[in-house]
């Protein structure tokens, strides 16, 4: 072989590059066309019909991913969002109930224990009733408790648990307990304690509520002090209404409806028209005889209350 021939061999192929690329593109287009035709004639049945989770143990995954826990957590977070979106858009008849939402969020938060949004997203969407959420407040609380164990001092998780007790489980007393715990965390906003106190009023636990409002009344914030003073007066009004109702219970029978303070005065049932702690006379329902804080009173509207404890 001559030196020139060797040189040509070393210099590379003489086949035109553009022609080869076009030929390759034609071959690929041919293969793709065949694929489309084959899928039409022989429809594939391999689409995933059931939600699938390959690895269910968060601890095992934590080991498998070596030092890439945070990135793996992101993948599971994206899957959780996609799963939620997919189930939310699926027809209600599908029978699916966000079955993978908790396992996916559990894995994401085990891989990345500081994944704040995953705990809070889970808190909302696991607790909300189906079809808006999984309808599993127990799981939501479990996830948020895990968040508290990993991130001590995060008042938001305590607040979210309180909200679940209030909104999903209708347990105002437990909600108040969690709002108090939230308020006790470092950097907690100062509106949490009033929220706990209001919740206790709703739960009809007036003694605890009075104690909390009393504490709030010592605040250095003027708006908090005035809010607490009003709440304490409302609690006093509630006690007065209970006492008055007890006193009038049997005596209302002495006159017939329509009831009014004036008629009770004339009948000698009462000596003066009772007034609330703001000195505004109470309202008396003319049909039922129920005593209420008058709408003209600065204490109106009164907090909602649940069944007495």
């Amino acid at each position: 072989m001559s030196a020139a021939a060797v040189g040509r061999g070393l210099a590379g192929s003489a086949v035109p590059a553009a022609g080869t690329i076009v030929a390759a593109a034609v071959c690929l287009a041919f293969a793709m066309t065949l694929q489309v035709v084959r899928d039409r004639i022989y429809p594939r049945q391999d689409a995933a019909t059931e939600p699938l989770l390959y690895v269910r143990s968060p601890q095992a995954l934590d080991r498998i991913v070596l030092g890439f826990d945070a990135l793996a957590a992101d993948v599971y977070w994206v899957r959780a969002i996609q799963h939620y979106g997919g189930e939310r858009l699926a027809p209600n008849t599908s029978g699916r109930k966000y079955e993978l939402l908790y396992p996916l969020l559990d894995i994401a938060t085990t891989l990345d224990p500081y994944f704040n949004i995953a705990y809070r997203f889970g808190g909302i969407f696991l607790s909300e009733d189906y079809p808006g959420g999984a309808g599993r407040p127990d799981r939501a609380i479990q996830l948020l408790r895990k968040g508290i164990a990993q991130n001590r001092g995060k008042w938001q998780y305590h607040h979210d648990i309180a909200f679940i007790y209030y909104w999903a489980l209708h347990n105002r007393a437990e909600a108040a307990t969690w709002f108090r715990r939230a308020a006790a965390q470092p950097d907690a906003p100062n509106w949490l304690l009033p929220l706990a106190a209001s919740m206790l009023v709703e739960a009809n636990d007036r003694a605890s509520s009075r104690y909390l409002w009393g504490e709030i009344a010592q605040s250095d914030q003027e708006w908090l002090r005035s809010r607490a003073e009003r709440a304490l007066l409302q609690l006093d009004a509630m006690d007065q209404i209970d006492a008055l109702t007890g006193v009038l219970k049997g005596r209302l029978r002495m006159i017939s409806a329509p009831y009014s303070w004036q008629r009770l005065l004339e009948a000698g049932v009462i000596r003066t028209i009772p007034a609330d702690p703001s000195n505004t006379p109470y309202a008396l329902d003319s049909v039922t005889g129920e005593i209420k804080v008058a709408s003209a009173s600065p204490l109106f509207p009164m907090p909602r209350t649940g069944s007495p404890r």
Binding site: R63, L66, G67, F68, D69, A70, L71, A73, D74, W77, V78, I81, Q82, D112, Y114, N116, I117, F121
Partner: protein, 268 residues
């Protein structure tokens, strides 16, 4: 020193000839496409995920460079028989090892630095486009300088892996060196479990063995602070210094043993 520098520069040039910098292009494409896609998929967590992805990719790309170039640093010279011409020159064997190692570390410096700059550029663009409310909801600012702490420890880890690959390359074939280095990389990430072996085993000798292995094997999980910096948690300077010091000590030990093994090798 001149010989070491000369070898190092040649190793760096060789890595450029081997198209190692192509991985920077792949890295940039990965980050840019991810930053676009994540905005649609992740419910406001794009900055966290871009940081996670950028740091993980820096680590993975660096790992491949460290292992696949590191294993060939010495063994390739032996296979190609170019070791004879090298050793015929006024270069000592320790200088050769030092030069080869420094050259690959130089390649890693360029790679890690370029990837860090690319990551900061992508984060700057995201931050620029974000509303003030969205920026306020981030656990840490997009252009958080704390990220550099994670990058520093990733770089030290890569230097350690390079030293491991070079160490194996002085006495075994490239395939075996790659398997051993990768195996040690995995073991290094589980190493912390050996420290608490007494919790799962009753036998005293087994516990002592595990404790010994804990100290002998590289503790690579110590270099992982990616999660902490992404969440804006403080990584104490003392921890950073101790991790860097541990890495430096381990690298020095590996290179010294590699030098001894390589110096005793007979190429006749």
């Amino acid at each position: 020193m001149h010989a070491v520098r000369h070898i190092a520069v040649n190793v760096f040039r060789e890595s450029v000839r081997d198209r190692v910098p192509y991985n920077l292009v792949i890295f940039a494409i990965l980050l840019i496409s991810a930053s676009y896609l994540l905005g649609q998929l992740t419910a406001g967590q794009d900055v966290k995920i871009i940081k996670d992805l950028g740091l993980a990719a820096t680590s993975v790309f660096g790992l491949f460079i460290s292992i696949f170039i590191g294993i060939g640093l010495v063994s390739k010279e032996v296979e190609r028989r170019s070791i004879y011409s090298l050793l015929a020159k006024p270069i000592s064997r320790p200088q050769l090892i030092a030069g080869k190692y420094t050259g690959l570390v130089l390649t890693l410096v360029v790679n890690v630095a370029s990837m860090t700059v690319a990551l900061y550029i992508v984060l700057a663009v995201i931050s620029w486009n974000a509303s003030p409310e969205m920026r306020a909801s981030w656990e840490a600012p997009a252009l958080d300088p704390q990220l550099l702490k994670a990058v520093l420890l990733i770089f030290i880890e890569l230097m350690l892996i390079t030293a491991m690959a070079l160490f194996f390359s002085t006495f075994s074939s490239p395939i075996l060196s790659a398997a051993l280095t990768f195996g040690l990389y995995i073991v290094g990430h589980f190493n912390a479990d050996l420290k608490n072996f007494e919790l799962v085993v009753d036998s005293k000798p087994a516990v002592w063995l595990a404790r010994g292995l804990y100290h002998i094997l590289p503790d690579l999980s110590a270099f992982d602070v990616k999660m902490q910096v992404v969440h804006g948690l403080t990584v104490p300077a003392g921890y950073l210094l101790s991790a860097v010091g541990y890495g430096a000590g381990y690298i020095a030990a590996l290179l010294l043993v590699a030098t001894v093994i390589f110096s005793r090798r007979d190429f006749k």
